[in-house]
C-alpha cells in the first residue's frame, strides 16, 4: 500500500483517469462503455472526483457572490453541505446496484459508483466556473449564471442515464425503468435507516431508564 502510494506512476495513472472524465462527458456512449471494461477509471479516481465535487459544493455555497446565491451563512454547515452531495450518490449506487443485479445488469457496485461520479463532471466544472463568473456579473446578468448551472444539471442527468445504459448494457427504456426503481429504493433505504435509528434510540432509552431506576434505588 505504502509502496503504491510512493510510486510516482500511481499519480500519473490517477491523473490520466481523472482526465478521462473530460472524454466521458463529451463522448458518453463510448466513454462510459470503456470506463470499467478497459479500466479507464478506478474507484480511487472516482473518489478523488467526489471529494473535489464536495469541496466545490462547499465553495459554491460560501464563495459565490451573494447576488446569485443567498446562503444564511450564520447557519451554514460545511460537512452537511458535503454530505448532501456524497450521501445521495452513495445511496444511488447501492440502490441501483441492488435492482440492476436482479435485472441482468452487467455493472458491479464499484462500476456504478465510478460511472455516476464521472457523470457529474459537468456539474463540478460549471459550479467551479460559476464561482468565478459570479464575481464579475451583476444581478440582472445572473440569468447567465443560472442558465449555465441548469444546463450543467440537465447534462449530468442525461449522462447518468447513458452511464447506466452503458455500464449495465441496457436499452434506454430499461435504464430509465431501473433508475426509477433505484429512486424508490433510495426512499426505502432511508426509511429503513430512520426506523433503525429510532428503534435503536428507543432501545437505548429503555436501558438507560432501567439503569437510572436501579441507580436511584441503590442510593
Amino acid at each position: 500500500m505504502v509502496a503504491t502510494l510512493k510510486n510516482i506512476d500511481t499519480y500519473t495513472e490517477l491523473l490520466k483517469q481523472l482526465k478521462y472524465a473530460l472524454y466521458c462527458i463529451f463522448h458518453p456512449a463510448d466513454g462510459f462503455w470503456c470506463i470499467n471494461r478497459e479500466k479507464r477509471a478506478s474507484v480511487a479516481s472516482a473518489t478523488v472526483l467526489l471529494v473535489v465535487y464536495c469541496l466545490i459544493e462547499v465553495m459554491r455555497l460560501t464563495l459565490t457572490n451573494f447576488q446569485m446565491l443567498l446562503v444564511p451563512i450564520e447557519y451554514f454547515n460545511a460537512p452537511m453541505a458535503a454530505l448532501s452531495i456524497c450521501v445521495p450518490i452513495l445511496l444511488w449506487s447501492v440502490a441501483n446496484w441492488g435492482f440492476t443485479t436482479l435485472f441482468n445488469g452487467k455493472g458491479k457496485l464499484s462500476d456504478i459508483y465510478v460511472a455516476t461520479v464521472y457523470a457529474f463532471t459537468p456539474v463540478i466544472i460549471c459550479n467551479a466556473a460559476g464561482i468565478v463568473i459570479s464575481q464579475f456579473i451583476t444581478f440582472e446578468e445572473g440569468v447567465l449564471y443560472h442558465t449555465m448551472l441548469s444546463i450543467a444539471g440537465i447534462w449530468a442527468f442525461l449522462l447518468v442515464l447513458v452511464a447506466m445504459m452503458q455500464v449495465h448494457d441496457y436499452t434506454l427504456l430499461k435504464a430509465i425503468a431501473t433508475s426509477l426503481l433505484a429512486i424508490c429504493g433510495i426512499g426505502f433505504i432511508v426509511f429503513i435507516f430512520l426506523l433503525f435509528f429510532s428503534l435503536v434510540s428507543d432501545a437505548f432509552m429503555y436501558f438507560y431508564s432501567l439503569y437510572n431506576e436501579i441507580v436511584f434505588r441503590l442510593y
Binding site: F66, Q67, L70, P72, Y75, F136, T138, F139, E140, G142
Partner: protein
C-alpha cells in the same frame, strides 16, 4: 425564491424564537421581521402619549365606539360613539398636548323631507364575526322607528351643544344639560319632550343618530356620518349643520332588493365622491356623489377559483354543490383616504396563504384597481405566521388603515391588536401594540387614524382612544422616509444614520444609506451597505456602476495585460511547435 427560502428557513427557526417573542417590561414590544424572516426586536417607534376616556370629560364612557377621524386642519378628533348613538368631538389643545371636549352631537336638524324611510332589516349584527367575544351591537332597545318620533324617554339626550362650558350632568348614565333656558322656542304641540324641541326655528326636524358606525371629515371640513341603522349617510357642514343625506339607491337594476343599505365606514374624496362600505355588500364600495346620486360599485375583489375547485365543481352532484363553499368576493371592512385621494382598503379575510390572491391591504385607484406597491420581503399582510401564543391564534385580520403623507401606512390588526407600519414600498418598518390591559395595548381594536405624526387607536371594548406619539427612533425613521420622498437623499441618509445609531440591526437603515451612497456615486460604500442587507437587486445596480468605473479607470492596464498574455501564449505555442518539429525529425 428569496421569500420561499426565507419562509422555509424561518419555519425551522420559529421553534427557537417562539420562547423569546414577548419581552415583558415597561416599554411596548416593538419588532420587525428580518431578511431571514426572523423576528428582530427594535426600539419603540411609538410611545403612548395619552388616553381618552369618555368618563374623564363627564360625558359618560363611550359605548362600543366604532370609528374615529381626526382632522389636522381643525385639530379636531371625531369619535363615532356607536353604542351611545352620538358623535363626540374633541379639540387638541396643543399647549397642554391633550384633548379638550368640544361637543357631543346626538342628532341633527334635517329637512322634514329627508326623514329616512326605513326598510325593515330585521335583527342585525353589525360587528364582524369575532370568536374572541368582542362586543356585539345590541339593538334591542333602540328600535329603528323610535328615531323618527324621538319620543323615547331613554333617549333623553341633548340635541346639540355648541358650548363646552355648559354644565354636564349624569342622569342614569345618560347625559342631560342642566340648562333651563334651553327651551326658548314656542311649544306648539309638536314638541313632546320638554327638554328640547323636535323642530327648530327654521322648521327643520330633529333626527337623532342611530348607531353611527363611521365618520369622515373631508378637506373642506364637511362631515360625513354613516348613520347605520337610520340607513343613511349624513352630510353636514363643519358646524354639524345639515346639508343633505344619501339614501339607498332606489334602482333595482343596480342594487338587489335583498341588499340593505347599512353603511358602516366611509370616506369622501376631493372630487366629491363618497365611498362607503355597506354591510353585506361584496361588490366593493358603493360610490355616491355628495348629492346622493349612486354611481356604482368600486373596487370589487376578483374571485379566482383554483383549477382544482373548478374540477370538483364539475363532477359534483347538485346536492354536493349546494354544500360547497361559495366563491364570493370578500367584503372590505374598512377604508381610508390618502393625501393623493386614493382609497386604502382593508379586508379581514386573509388566510395566511400569500398565493390565494387575497390582498388584505389595497390601494384603489379611481377605477378600483389595486395599485399598492408590494416590494417588501413579504406581502403587507401583518404577521408572517399565526402561531398560537397566549390563547390567540390565526393570521392577522386587519381592521383599519391610515396613510401618512409620505405614503407609509399603518394597518391595525384585530387578531393581536398590533399596528403594522409599512413604507410606501410595502416594507414592514415596525410592529407594536398588542392585546392586553396595559397602556399601549388594546382589548379590541376598531379604528386607527393619524393626527399629524401621532397615531390614534380606538378600542371599542375598553372604550378608549389611545394616542401614540413617535419616539426619537420613530421620528428619525419617518423623517428619513419624508426626506427620501421629497427627494432630499443626503438628508435622508443622515436620518438613516441616526436610526442606525439607535438600532444597528435595522435593515432599512442600511438600505437607506446605501441608496444615498449610490446616488452620491460612492459605489463601493453602497455595495458594502447593500451586502449587509442582502439586497441583491440594488447591489447589482451599484456593482454594475462600480464595474463600469473600474474598467474605465483601468482600461489601459487591462488591455496591456491581455496583450502580454496573448504574446506569451503565442510565443509558447511557437516554441512548442518548433520543439515538436525537432522531436519529429
Amino acid at each position: 425564491m428569496r421569500k420561499l427560502l426565507a419562509i422555509v428557513l424561518s419555519s425551522v427557526l420559529l421553534i427557537g424564537l417562539a420562547s423569546t417573542v414577548h419581552a415583558a417590561g415597561p416599554t411596548n414590544y416593538t419588532y420587525v421581521y428580518g431578511f431571514w424572516a426572523d423576528e428582530i426586536a427594535t426600539p419603540d417607534a411609538f410611545a403612548v402619549a395619552g388616553m381618552v376616556y369618555g368618563f374623564d370629560y363627564g360625558i359618560g364612557n363611550f359605548n362600543n365606539p366604532q370609528d374615529l377621524h381626526s382632522c389636522k386642519l381643525t385639530n379636531k378628533l371625531y369619535i363615532a360613539d356607536t353604542g351611545n348613538n352620538r358623535i363626540v368631538v374633541f379639540d387638541l389643545d396643543e399647549s397642554t398636548d391633550s384633548f379638550v371636549l368640544n361637543r357631543v352631537v346626538t342628532g341633527v336638524y334635517i329637512d322634514p323631507a329627508d326623514v329616512p324611510v326605513l326598510r325593515d332589516v330585521g335583527e342585525v349584527d353589525l360587528e364582524e364575526d369575532d370568536e374572541e367575544g368582542a362586543p356585539h351591537f345590541d339593538d334591542g332597545e333602540h328600535s329603528v322607528d323610535e328615531t323618527e318620533h324621538f319620543d323615547d324617554d331613554e333617549d333623553d339626550v341633548n340635541p346639540q351643544t355648541d358650548e363646552i362650558d355648559e354644565q354636564w350632568t349624569m342622569d342614569n348614565g345618560q347625559l342631560t344639560i342642566d340648562d333651563e333656558d334651553e327651551n326658548e322656542i314656542d311649544e306648539d304641540g309638536l314638541v313632546e319632550d320638554e327638554e328640547f324641541p323636535l323642530y327648530n326655528e327654521d322648521g327643520l326636524i330633529f333626527s337623532g343618530f342611530n348607531s353611527p358606525h363611521g365618520i369622515f371629515v373631508d378637506k373642506h371640513g364637511e362631515i360625513f356620518i354613516a348613520d347605520t341603522l337610520n340607513q343613511r349617510i349624513l352630510r353636514l357642514d363643519n358646524d354639524f349643520n345639515y346639508i343633505n343625506s344619501v339614501f339607498r339607491p332606489d334602482d333595482p337594476t343596480v342594487v338587489d332588493d335583498g341588499i340593505e343599505f347599512l353603511p358602516l365606514k366611509l370616506v369622501a374624496d376631493f372630487s366629491g365622491r363618497i365611498f362607503t362600505q355597506v354591510r353585506n355588500v361584496n361588490k366593493g364600495f358603493m360610490e355616491f356623489d355628495v348629492d346622493g346620486t349612486f354611481h356604482g360599485y368600486m373596487g370589487a375583489s376578483r374571485v379566482e377559483p383554483r383549477l382544482i375547485d373548478i374540477f370538483w365543481k364539475r363532477i359534483a352532484t347538485d346536492a354536493q354543490r349546494r354544500q360547497m363553499e361559495l366563491f364570493v368576493p370578500t367584503e372590505y371592512n374598512n377604508l381610508s383616504l390618502d393625501h393623493d385621494g386614493f382609497v386604502y382598503a382593508t379586508l379581514s379575510a386573509y388566510s395566511g396563504n400569500p398565493f390565494d390572491g387575497v390582498a388584505p391591504v389595497r390601494r384603489l385607484n379611481a377605477i378600483g384597481e389595486d395599485i399598492l406597491i408590494r416590494n417588501g420581503y413579504a406581502e403587507p399582510a401583518g404577521d408572517w405566521w399565526g402561531g398560537s401564543f397566549g390563547g390567540i391564534q390565526g393570521m392577522s385580520r386587519f381592521a383599519d388603515v391610515t396613510v401618512f403623507p409620505n405614503n407609509s401606512y399603518a394597518v391595525l390588526d384585530r387578531t393581536r391588536g398590533r399596528i403594522f407600519m409599512y413604507d410606501y414600498q410595502g416594507e414592514l418598518l415596525y410592529v407594536f401594540g398588542g392585546i392586553g390591559n396595559t397602556r399601549g395595548r388594546f382589548l379590541d381594536v376598531a379604528a386607527i387614524d393619524r393626527m399629524g405624526d401621532n397615531l390614534l387607536v380606538l378600542d371599542p371594548r375598553a372604550a378608549t382612544v389611545t394616542r401614540f406619539a413617535p419616539t426619537r427612533y420613530g421620528s428619525y425613521i419617518t423623517a428619513a422616509m419624508d426626506y427620501y420622498y421629497s427627494g432630499d437623499y443626503d438628508k435622508s441618509a443622515e436620518m438613516w444614520n441616526m436610526v442606525m445609531n439607535l438600532n444597528g440591526n435595522y435593515d432599512f437603515a442600511y438600505i437607506g444609506m446605501g441608496r444615498a451612497a449610490l446616488r452620491n456615486e460612492q459605489y463601493a460604500e453602497a455595495m458594502r451597505l447593500y451586502e449587509i442587507k442582502h439586497d441583491q437587486e440594488n447591489y447589482g445596480k451599484a456593482f454594475q456602476l462600480f464595474r463600469k468605473d473600474w474598467i474605465e479607470a483601468n482600461i489601459t492596464t487591462i488591455l496591456l495585460c491581455l496583450l502580454v498574455v496573448y504574446v506569451i501564449l503565442k510565443t509558447l505555442s511557437i516554441v512548442l511547435k518548433i520543439r515538436n518539429k525537432r522531436k519529429g525529425e
